[in-house]
C-alpha cells in the first residue's frame, strides 16, 4: 500500500492505493490520526484500494470516532468496488459517511 495527500476545498484527502491489510494498515492509520490531530477535516479516498481487511476498516472507524469526538468531518470518497463490497457486507455503509466526490459535498458547517 502507498498513499498520497492532497487538499481539496476544506478537506485533507488521504488517497490510499493497493492492499490495506494487517501489514499496511498502520501506515493508513498514522496518516488519518496525524491530520485529524492537526484539526483537519479528513476524507479518505479509496478509489485505488484493491483489498481492505478488518484491520484497515478499523483504522477508518478509529478516524471516524476521533473526528466525531473533535467535531471534525470525516468520510470516505470514491470507494472502489472491492472496498465497497466489504463495507456493505458488514453494513458499515450505514456508519461511515461515503461520498462519490468531494466537489458534490455540502460545505463544512460543523465546528
Amino acid at each position: 500500500m502507498d498513499y498520497k495527500i492532497r487538499t481539496e476545498g476544506q478537506y485533507t484527502v488521504i488517497a490510499l492505493r493497493g492492499d490495506v491489510d494487517l501489514h499496511h494498515s498502520p501506515k493508513a492509520r498514522e496518516q488519518i490520526l496525524k491530520y485529524l490531530g492537526e484539526q483537519c477535516h479528513v476524507m479518505v479516498d479509496l478509489a485505488d484500494v484493491a483489498y481492505i481487511d478488518s484491520s484497515g476498516i478499523a483504522s477508518l472507524i478509529e478516524g471516524f470516532q476521533l473526528a466525531k469526538q473533535h467535531k471534525l468531518q470525516f468520510g470516505l470518497v470514491g470507494v472502489s468496488e472491492p472496498a465497497m463490497q466489504v463495507l456493505k457486507l458488514a453494513r458499515l455503509d450505514r456508519v461511515l459517511p461515503i461520498h462519490q466526490t468531494i466537489s458534490g459535498m455540502a460545505p463544512v458547517s460543523i465546528r
Binding site: 492509520r29 478488518s54 472507524i61 478509529e62 458488514a90 453494513r91 458499515l92
Partner: protein, 578 residues
Amino acid sequence: MDTARITSGKSVNSIKPADLPAPPQAAIQIVHACSDDSTDSKKLARLAASDMVITAEVLRVANSPFFGYGYGKKIQSIPRAVTVMGQRTLRNLVLCIAVRDAIKQDSIPGFDINAYWEDSLRRAVCARLLGRDVRLDHDECFTAGLLQDFGLLVMFFLQPDKAAMWPEMRRKNPMSRYQMEKRVFGNTHDKVGRMLAKEWGLPAELGDAISNHHGADGDAPDETHTRLCRLAYCVDWMAAVFTADDKSETLTRCRDAITRTFGLAPGVVEKHLDNVPSLVEEAATALGLGVGNQLKFADVMQEANLKLASENLSYQELTRQLEVTLEERDRLAAELNREIALAQEIQKSLLPHPDTPGQYITGINLPARELSGDFYDFFTLPDGRMYFNLGDVSGKGINAALLMAKTSSLFRCLGKTVHSPGKLLQQINRELCETTTRGMFVAVTAGLYDPANGTVRLVNAGNPPALLIGRNGTHKAYKAESPPLGIDTDTAFPEYEFNLSDDGLYLFSDGITEGFIAKDETLGITGLLTLILEVGARPAQQRLAAIVDRIRRSPEPLRDDTTILLVEKPHDNGARTD
C-alpha cells in the same frame, strides 16, 4: 640561490613550468655537466668556481661523516671530488643541495618545512639502506628518496592557504595521503614531480622514480618501471611507518610491498627500520637540515602492537556482547512463546471443545496465527433453548484475542438472563463501545434456537450472510442488518425469525469466503454453497472439517482466522439421509 614566490594561491591542477620553483643555477649546471660523458674535471671546476657558495657546500657535505666520500682524507676541490667520488655521485650530491635550496625555509607561512625535510630524509635514508640490499647505487637511491616527494612541497608552495592540512596529511599512510592530495589539490606529488623533473632536466632514472613511483590510484608502479622507481614506492611505506597514525597497518603493507617487489627475507625490513632514526639525524647534520627528536622503531612497534591488541580485544568484546545479546533474544523469545502458548490454551478453553460437538450445534475455528480473533460458542438455557454465536474481531493477534475473550465472555454471562439475541447484542455493544480502542470492532452473528418448535431468532451484525441450506439444495441468506459491535452505542440489532426445520444453518466468518482455494482464487459464497452440497451426505462435524480443509490445503498461506458453525437437527446416523 634565492627563490622568490612565483605565485600565490596558484591552482595546482593547472601548473605551468613557469610556476615551479627554480633551483640554484650553478648547481643545476653542475648536474647537467656531470650527466654529460664528455665533461672533464676541469670544466666542472670552472663551473663550480662561478659559485663559491655552492662549491663550499658541496665539499662540506661530501666530507661529512654521513657521506664520508674522502675516506678519512678531506676532499678540498671539485676536481678531487670528481676523482674520488665519480661524476655520477657528485651529480647526485649536488642535486640534493639544489633541491634543498629550491624552496626557502620561510616561504610557506604556517607550513612546518622541517617536518617535510625530516620525512624526505627518512625516505632517503630508507632508500639508501634498501638500495644496498637490492644492489642499486645507494647514493643514487638516497637522492631519489630525497627528491621523490618534492612535488608535495611544490603544491604547498603554490597553495600556501592549504598549509593547515599538512599535519593531517603527514599522519596518513602513502595511499591515503595520495587520495587526500587529490581531494585537497586536485593533483598529486608524482604528477607535479614529473613536470619538475622535465623542467630541471633531471637524469632519466631519477626522473622515472620521481614521476612514476605511484600507480594510477597511489598504488605500486608496475614492472615496466625501473627498479629505482619501484624502490621509491617501497621507501614511501617504510618512512610512513614512523609517521602514520595506523602504524600496525602501515608496517604490514610496508613488509608486503618490499616482499612482493624485491623478495627480501623476513626481518630485513625491521633491521633497517631500527637503524633509520639515527641515520636520519646524521643525514640531517650532513645536509644542514634541522630535524626534531626521532621516534625509535621500538616505540613504533610498541604502538603497533598496542593497536593490534586493542583491536583484538574489542573484537573479542564485540563477539561476547553479541553472544550475550543473542542469548537474551532467545530467552525473551522463549518467554514470549510460553506466554502465547498459555494465552492459546486459555483461549481454547473459551471455545467449545472440538471433540465434543453439541447435539445440534457444531463449529470449527482455525486461527491464522497462534491466537484467534474469531470465536464461536453455544450453550443451552434451562428451558432447553440454545444460544449460539460466531464472532470476528477486526485485526489479528493478541489485541484481537483479548477483545474476542471479552466479547465471548459477555455473551455467555449476559445471555443467561437476556433471552433475545437482538437485545443481548445491544447490551454487549454498549459495553464494548465504552472500552474498545483503536477503532477495533467485533462482527457477530448470534441466534437463539428452540429445538422444541424449530424456531430460530437470528441477528447478523457485520458478518457475511448466514446460510440456511435445505436438503434439496435450496438456500436462503440472512445478510447483516447491523454494523459490527463496538462502533456506535446507538446501533439497533433487528432479528430474523424462521424455522430451522430439517435444514442446516451455516454461520461463518469472512475467513471462509475470502479464504484462498488456489492461487488468486478465493472460495466465495457460491463456492461455499457448492462445497456444502458436495459434502452434504457426511456427518456435521466432517462436513465442516471438509470445508475448512479446502482452504487449509491451498498453497496460499492462511491470511485470516477461519471459523464456521452449523446448527442442524440431529439425524439418526449423524448424517443426512438423502
